[in-house]
């Protein structure tokens, strides 16, 4: 019997995977998954340009500089003192500005800007009449620091929107789409347990969404790390938990697909109009931080937030209610989070299995 179920499960999955991956109406899911990849590709391009420029400035300077050399330049120093300290700059910009006040208002003021870099940071010194008036040391891209930005995009766009809506598009249509196409009877006419059919559809949806969003996640990570020097990358990946974080993001992506998939599968069976359950689940997930402890547990984001490897800091001055949306004041341990999410998903699948047994083919009422 089990071998028959297994064959049936595979048959359902084959049909559903083909439908999910190649359906025209699912194209937008690829676009949603691609958006953060494009974002990080743009980021990589920007990082690459900044780093190229700094390398150029450092290369064309009179002498190789360290970060300490850059910090040694202070406001009020003269051109000569600056050049004595950090050498002739790689590039100089000079311009005159008409003075409108003071005793020498008839003469133009002479402005100069020197640009230095140690390859990682940039120093801008602006002189007015030969004296440093503005000194700015600007950091280049810092992988450790930018990983917080990556975490922010993951938590607030990828997890809560891209995967959420992607799962909506795939799982909600597993049954609802076929009812609308009037082709669900094809499955219901086969000697297959409805639970096996549901499991096959769910697994196909899970494989499809996991493949799409894990691929997106891997591409995002690749694009994020792309522009950095290999030494910086290796340091981040192998010594600063970068690899662990990447693996955690992949795991969270799969868990998100399981959790949201189970919710949308059940929603697709109970609701004719996808807008209603989508709005309800989106709001439910959104207000999760404000819910009582028991209700919090009936959600996906509650568990996923605790699994995220990098905390996104609350921006200073943010109202406490909004800050609650970002922070996770009561994180739960990783095993509890994984177990909790899988339990919630299993309960949702159990309810779906009861519902699928009751389903009837009555296309005219749809």
């Amino acid at each position: 019997m089990k071998s028959v179920w297994w064959r049936q499960l595979k048959a359902v999955m084959r049909l559903e995977l083909k439908k999910t991956f190649f359906a025209r109406r699912g194209l937008w899911i690829y676009l949603v998954a691609l958006l953060p990849v494009l974002l990080f590709m743009a980021y990589a391009t920007a990082v690459s340009r900044v780093q190229g420029r700094m390398a150029d400035v450092a290369r064309h300077g009179q002498k190789p500089l360290t970060y300490q050399d850059l910090l040694a330049v202070k406001q009020g120093m003269t051109n000569e003192e600056v050049i004595a300290s950090v050498g002739k700059p790689a590039s100089t910009v000079r311009w005159k500005v008409a003075r409108t006040t003071g005793a020498d208002a008839s003469e133009d003021g002479v402005h100069e800007r020197y640009n230095y870099s140690d390859g990682q940071q940039e120093l801008y010194v602006e002189f007015v009449d030969g004296r440093a008036e503005t000194v700015i040391v600007r950091d280049g891209n810092n992988l450790q620091r930018d990983s917080v930005m990556f975490a922010g995009v993951f938590q607030f766009f990828f997890l809560r929107l891209a995967i959420f809506f992607g799962c909506l598009g795939v799982f909600m249509n597993l049954f609802r789409g076929e009812i609308l196409d009037r082709s669900l009877h094809f499955y219901f006419l086969a000697p297959i347990r409805r639970e096996v059919l549901m499991a096959g559809k769910f697994l196909a949806g899970l494989i499809a969404t996991s493949t799409i969003f894990v691929a997106s996640e891997v591409l995002q990570t690749t694009a994020f790390l792309w522009a950095f020097h290999p030494n910086v990358r290796n340091l981040y990946l192998y010594h600063n938990h970068g690899l662990e974080h990447a693996a955690a993001y992949v795991g969270i992506t799969v868990l998100a697909c399981i959790g949201y998939g189970a919710f949308f599968l059940i929603a697709g069976m109970f609701f004719r109009n996808p807008i209603v359950p989508t709005a309800v689940i989106l709001i439910w997930e959104g207000i999760n931080p404000f819910l009582p402890a028991v209700l919090k547990q009936v959600s996906v984001i509650y568990y996923l937030k605790s699994l995220c490897p990098v905390d996104v800091p609350v921006p200073p001055g943010m109202p406490p209610l909004l800050a609650l949306l970002i922070s996770n004041p009561e994180p739960i341990s990783e095993p509890v989070a994984v177990f909790g999410l899988l339990t919630v998903a299993l309960v949702a699948l159990y309810v779906s299995s009861l519902q699928v047994r009751r389903m009837e083919i009555n296309y005219t009422t749809e």
Binding site: V4, W5, R7, Q8, K10, A11, V12, R14, L15, K18, K19, F22, A23, D181, R182, S183, H185, F186, Y187, F188, L189, A190, P191, I192, R193, R194, R357, R358, E360, I361, N362, Y363, T365
Partner: protein
């Protein structure tokens, strides 16, 4: 119960709308036709029989199997529905192959059974084409192939002859007959009464969700008392015979046939009439044939339901 399709006091309501009501049926092997106008409950009855809809009341057993157990039910049942939609992107072969794999067949068996079913409905040349490009008749045939593919004991066919050309119709009817002769239960719904008449072993007449009559058509006809039986007698000297029949007061109406070689009469007591006929036909009147003229499905349908929405 194990050798019948049984409906026990079955009703089905779609919210407030009646599908079928108080059905009590016991369907034996052979070809059983469901006859009735649109909305009479034929498709609902078939969907109930195959578990696609659940009864609001009552129980249904198909050869002892409950209809809420699709895993076992569809091992015995093949259903060719009226739903004209298929999973997207599949060829005729893939459609059957996938269905058989869903049924738990391994790929080799599924392939063999799929080709055999394709052969049975004469679609070999088009099996590799996408179903979306099929004509209505071809879609009808591939649905029939799906119903037949796993050699079911019970074949449920909703308007299976719709859209078929005359050759395909006769081939399909032969297929149904062959299945019935092998002991299958073939349940057919059709609007085309002369075909129902030709192929059916028994009929179930439905009207407004109720079973109006069921059984062999002659039995059903004999139970309709308010309409006298019509008998066509082919004979020599029909006028003479007509006069004798009038004298005997066994017929309520008599008419000479248009070709002048027989007479059509109506009687409320056909058994007595048949007994008396030998005496009436003495004196050189030669009787070639005596046939009931209204014990076909159409007449029964007309008497019980009325003359609407059917094709003779």
């Amino acid at each position: 119960m194990k050798d019948r399709i049984v409906f026990e006091n079955v009703s089905k309501f779609y919210d407030e709308i009646l599908g079928v009501n108080h059905l009590n049926l016991s369907i034996p092997p052979g070809i059983t036709s469901l006859v009735g106008p649109n909305g009479s409950g034929k498709t609902t009855l078939m969907n109930l029989m195959t578990g696609l809809v659940k009864p609001s009341r009552g129980q249904i057993y198909v050869l002892g199997c409950r209809t809420d157990d699709p895993e076992n039910l569809f091992k015995m049942v093949g259903y060719s529905t009226q739903f004209d939609a298929f999973p997207k992107g599949l060829t005729g072969f893939q459609f059957l192959y996938s269905y058989l794999q869903l049924s738990g067949r391994d790929s080799h068996t599924a392939e063999q059974l799929a080709w055999r079913a394709i052969e049975r409905v004469n679609l070999r040349n088009d099996a590799g084409r996408n179903i979306a490009g099929y004509s209505k008749g071809m879609r009808q045939r591939i649905r029939l192939a799906q119903a037949l593919a796993h050699d079911p004991k019970v074949l449920v066919l909703d308007e299976p002859l719709n859209g078929l050309d005359p050759l395909a119709r006769s081939e399909s009817i032969a297929l149904f007959r062959a299945a019935a002769e092998l002991g299958c239960y073939v349940i057919i719904s059709s609007h085309i009464l002369h075909e129902v008449d030709v192929i059916s072993d028994q009929v179930i007449l439905l009207s407004n969700g109720y079973v109006v009559a069921e059984g062999q058509i002659q039995t059903v006809r004999s139970e309709i008392q308010e309409h006298p039986t019509q008998i066509l007698i082919r004979c020599t000297r029909p006028r003479e015979l007509a006069a004798k029949v009038i004298e005997s007061e066994l017929a309520s109406e008599i008419a000479i046939h248009n070709d002048g070689r027989g007479l059509l009469l109506k009687t409320r007591n056909s058994d007595n009439f048949y007994l008396a006929l030998n005496e009436l036909a003495l004196n050189g009147i030669e009787i070639e044939s005596v046939t009931p003229a209204d014990d076909d499905v159409f007449s029964v349908y007309e008497y019980l339901i009325g003359n609407e929405e059917v094709v003779r």
